[in-house]
Amino acid sequence: MRELVKRYRFFLFAVILLLMSVVLYSYNLRQKSTTTFFERAVLTFASPFQNGLDHLVDSIGGGWANYLWLVDARQRSIALERENRELKSQLRQINEISLQNDRLRKLLAFVDDLDKPALPAQVIGEDASNWSRTVIINKGSRAGLMAGFPVVAADGVVGRIIKTSPRSSRVLLITDASSAVATLVQRTRTRGVARGRGGDLSLEFALRDSDIQVGDLLVTSGMGGVFPKGLPLGLVTNVEKDPFSLFQRVRSETAADFSHLEEVLVIVGEDH
């Protein structure tokens, strides 16, 4: 027996170590909402460096773009693009509010107020792995942020905070594979769950007979208690109906542009 152990000690050692690390991972998965001391320390340590690096790259990029490359035209274009995004966002919100008002008038019920206090934050880093979709923002627990707070941009929903340190927080984007958001198709009020697919979204659990068309706007349903109701998630790009399946396959592009995510808003409403 001792001889056997001696001969295979490397493999035994390797298996024990791997099992221990898997147990650690499994334990941490259960404690998902809490930020460990190690993670908090690393985030706190990294935050000023990431801020500095972000400012440095911004300054160099800004200098190059603004002073050496068409000073006025570029700035005007940026301003117009921003204005265009804001107007589109306002139009979508007006559509949603209008539909909501129609329903609520009929029901003589409450007015759901989306105007909640929000804290602006800047994206200072992205995920270190290529498959996971998270970003780091420059506001943390000192600014009153906590895990679970929803994060939005001018175009639509960005994600929710999953970890906080005193000066920075990690945001799980809606495009991450582990993200699932309770969703409504704005036009038909069909329910579903928008799950991340890296670059886009898939609407799951939408019944085959439900009326969903390309171009339909997906909005948050408010179920689950994380995101307020009526925030734009994305536009339907593809609908497939399998005659033998209970649900239809719906793909959607995100409303927010994640390739140019710089400033975001964290909703810090009183219900959080």
Binding site: L17, V42, D127, A177, G198
Partner: protein
């Protein structure tokens, strides 16, 4: 202790590049995993215990800079470094083409293990839709940056007048046959 400090500093530098610099220029699929290259380097260069400690350290750093629970990359890098240690005793790890092959296999193993662990423990099977199509681009990016790093190490270490680490392996590979 000095070597762990070296790996720690290099790991932190690499993770800053991965999380704050590369995203400005490269799409997610084409961002190299420099930490994996460092883990493979440690697996080839250090003794078993040193390599394991380095893998645990680098895995914990990468977990902290990624949006998932602490332990995922610890497990993945531990498995990779143990395999590398096992293979380095069986094969001629000093051959440069073999080093590149190890980077390729290491990238594949890393993606498969991440997919497996997330599917089993975190119930996020959709991650496979992200991971699997990205593997070819990931392999190319890691190979390209591993070659760049080898060239950079060779240049830097020649400045200091001695050879250690990966450049040492490459030099030996040239002399004793690749």
């Amino acid at each position: 202790m000095r070597k762990f400090l070296f790996y720690f500093i290099l790991g932190v530098l690499f993770i800053f590049l991965q999380s704050s610099f590369f995203p400005l220029f490269l799409p997610p699929d084409l961002r190299p995993n420099l930490m994996l290259l460092l883990v493979l380097f440690a697996g080839l260069r250090e003794d078993t215990l040193g390599a394991i400690i380095t893998a645990l350290l680098l895995g914990a750093i990468q977990d902290s800079f990624s949006g998932h629970s602490l332990g995922l990359y610890v497990t993945v890098y531990l498995a990779i470094v143990l395999s590398t240690r096992f293979l380095s005793d069986q094969l001629n790890a000093e051959s440069p083409p073999l080093l590149l092959l190890m980077v390729m296999v290491g990238t594949l193993i890393q993606n498969l293990l991440v997919g497996l662990l997330l599917s089993i423990f975190a119930d996020t099977q959709t991650v496979l839709h992200i991971l699997l199509p990205a593997i070819p681009a990931q392999v190319i990016a890691n190979l390209f940056f591993s070659i760049l790093l080898v060239i950079l190490f060779l240049k830097v270490q020649r400045l200091f007048g001695y050879r250690r680490g990966l450049s040492d392996l490459i030099a030996q590979g040239k002399h004793y046959g690749a």
